[in-house]
Amino acid sequence: MKFVDEYRDPALAGRLLTEIRHTVTRPWVVMEICGGHTHAIMKNGLDQLLPAQVELVHGPGCPVCVTPVETIDRAVAIAARSEVIFTSFGDMLRVPGSSSSLFMAKSAGADVRMVYSPLEAVALARQNPEREVVFLAVGFETTAPGNAMALLQARREGLTNFSLLASHVLVVPAIRGLLSSPSNRVQGYLAPGHVCTVMGWQEYEPLAEEFKVPVVVTGFEPVDILAGLLMVLRQLEAGRHQVENQYGRSVSREGNLAAQRVMDEVFAVSDRAWRGIGVLPASGLVIREHLAAYDAERKFAVETIKARESELCKSGNVLQGLIKPDGCPAFARECTPEHPLGATMVSGEGACAAYYKYHRTSHA
């Protein structure tokens, strides 16, 4: 596959690793914000190949993991209504709410369907005018433009039976929250290449300046990640703190303006609760007032559903980089992919699931 295979070349990856080894003179802590990076790092075993001085900390960049319990509870409540066809990306189906998941709701009789694109949910609304089609709109800035387009398309087609249960999150406010924390140990960041494809990298510039941290926008193949790391480490060693772009083939400084415009037309920025972390100011997106007719939360009056999280689960600390997944007392004991306590164990991208899947030798 062009634009994939050449970025998996073991020889090139090997040379980048050697260069990293030559660059590093003392310990550094670098966070990969994005769950996609975490997944690629674990799957390829990159962490085992890095010099011991380079510590990788896994960030909160898994939208499935940070979706609050009460969003799942609301989804389950809406899905249970007989007139509803509830649609979702495959990721969210297994995520546990307080007492149920969408999969459990399905086996209890709810009409829950998996879609690959939000436009497939719009098509379902078109084909089933007598039913209410609800789409669970989760994700970061990468996913929000598509979901926004789906809403606008439903409005354009005059489909009044389509709505979004929206639970979008924003990356930069989360990083700001982490950097502001007194317990922060992270010295440099790999920024998420696909979020930046939409948003560009200029929004990281004030952050790099204010907190004196290097940020490198990074792609998702092994060569990308190693090159991005090398760029962060070179900055750290040189005492620089700039925003650099390793993923130039897809990311520009301004990002995708058309996508940003549509996102802004549909969503407004608001405070948002992150599962395991708590409320972060201006870190989420809600459907704008004039589009309330397409907001499932209001349409089905589920705002009143509140929920609490498991007290055993330390996923909040994992997501903030305070502990590694296997540092949680429940890891691989009370909490496994079969019986997850927190979403970080559910999503393939969740740090806990990635540790369980690829990295469990010492626990087995």
């Binding site: 596959m1 994939v4 998996r8 073991p10 990856a13 090997g14 769950g35 996609g36 674990m42 799957k43 390829n44 075993g45 990159l46 962490d47 085992q48 190949l49 898994c62 939208p63 499935v64 990306f89 495959g90 990721d91 189906l93 297994r94 369907r113 998996m114 879609v115 690959y116 694109s117 497939e120 994700g139 996913t143 092994p222 992919p337 079969e338 999503s347 393939g348 991208e349 369980y356 899947k357 690829y358 990295h359 469990r360 030798t361 087995a364």
Partner: protein, 351 residues
């Protein structure tokens, strides 16, 4: 299997009064008899089946019997590269022959939802006929039930197979020994991705075709090369990763794989990348994985490569004494990772 086109066959659709299956076709009365005599017997007919007894009575050679049963509930019924019919034959033939046995006889039971078009049933029976002929097995007994609309999804088929295990062959998941080599017969993930990309809703047009095929010819050739095969399975549901985890657990050994040695077709990889699915966990219906002593591994691989179902056969890893019960993989970059059992069905993901 190749494309099955009903027009390729000389026998046209038998003329029936009804265009779709009626509840009465399962009543045991005249319509049932007509369905059997006009639809099933012309396709599968043989001396044993034609007697229409409640059971098949057949000659069976002396020796050890291998017996297996499997139900097929695939959606959609027809998919690129095959359909539920050849799947039901090949799946059971493969389960029999993974013991080293020569498959001899099959039983087939059909649960049909009322309203299934006769043409659909006919097309599936043609494909079963062709698959059974290719595999060299006879369907010697069967059953047909019709259920109310909504009580099953169009058509379920259960096939049961028996075969004869040759003397001196002892194949079991519990037989792995440190030092053994793990051999894979060809590229993984074809069947599962063919099904997933042809499901409604996921707007795919894909070149991915199911690999459904009977493997008894290949197994025969392998056993001729060396009867010392320790373990053998066809990695269907749960994929190669699940089968190897079963081997490691049953034998109390570890398995170390080489990522770069495991073949995946480009179009299967493309589909897996798009949907965020790992081909190690995707179903195959025409591949096998065998574990053999190191000293015969080369001979077995050569024998496999001389058979159409084994042209891409390769050694993909070895059995190790450490990491008991675990499957691990050396990544293309030289690191190691665990290849775990999957929790449930792999779902397309966006993150």
């Amino acid at each position: 299997m190749h494309d099955l086109n009903p027009e390729d066959f000389s026998c046209p659709l038998p003329i029936m009064e009804y265009e779709t299956i009626q509840l009465a076709h399962g009543s045991g009365g005249r319509l049932s008899a007509e369905l059997v005599s006009r639809f099933f017997l012309p396709r599968f007919g043989n001396e044993t089946l034609n007697r229409l007894e409640d059971q098949a009575v057949v000659d069976f050679p002396q020796g050890r019997l291998a017996l297996t049963t499997d139900s097929f509930v695939v959606d959609p019924l027809f998919f690129p590269g095959g359909d539920i019919g050849d799947l039901a034959i090949n799946g059971t033939v493969n389960d029999v022959c993974m013991s080293g046995a020569t498959p001899l006889y099959l039983a087939a039971a059909f649960i049909i939802e009322e309203g299934l078009p006769m043409t659909t049933l006919h097309r599936i029976l043609l494909s079963m006929e062709k698959a059974a002929k290719t595999a060299g097995v006879q369907i010697v007994t069967g059953d047909t039930k019709v259920v109310n609309r909504g009580c099953c999804d169009k058509l379920f088929i259960t096939t049961t197979g028996v075969g004869l295990v040759p003397a001196g062959v002892n194949i079991s998941a519990a037989n792995l020994k440190p030092g053994d080599k793990v051999i894979l017969s060809g590229a993984i993930g074809d069947h599962g991705m063919a099904i997933l990309t042809s499901r409604e809703g996921l707007s795919f047009a894909s070149r991915v075709r199911s690999d459904t095929a009977a493997l008894n010819g290949l197994v025969d050739r392998m056993l001729h090369a060396s009867p010392a095969i320790h373990a053998m399975r066809d990695p269907t549901r749960g994929g190669l990763a699940t089968t190897l985890n079963e081997f490691a657990a049953s034998s109390g050994v570890g398995i170390m794989l080489e990522e770069a040695a495991i073949p995946v077709r480009p179009e299967v990889r493309g589909a897996c990348e798009v949907l965020g699915i790992d081909p190690m966990y995707v179903a195959n219906e025409g591949k096998l994985v065998a574990v053999v002593p190191a000293e015969v591994a080369g001979t077995v691989v050569d024998a496999m490569r001389s058979h159409p179902q084994g042209r891409e056969a390769a050694i993909i890893g070895e059995v190790v004494a450490g990491n008991r019960g675990l499957v691990a993989m050396r990544t293309a970059l030289g690191a190691q990772r665990i290849v775990d059992m999957p929790v449930g069905e792999q779902l397309p993901r966006i993150c």
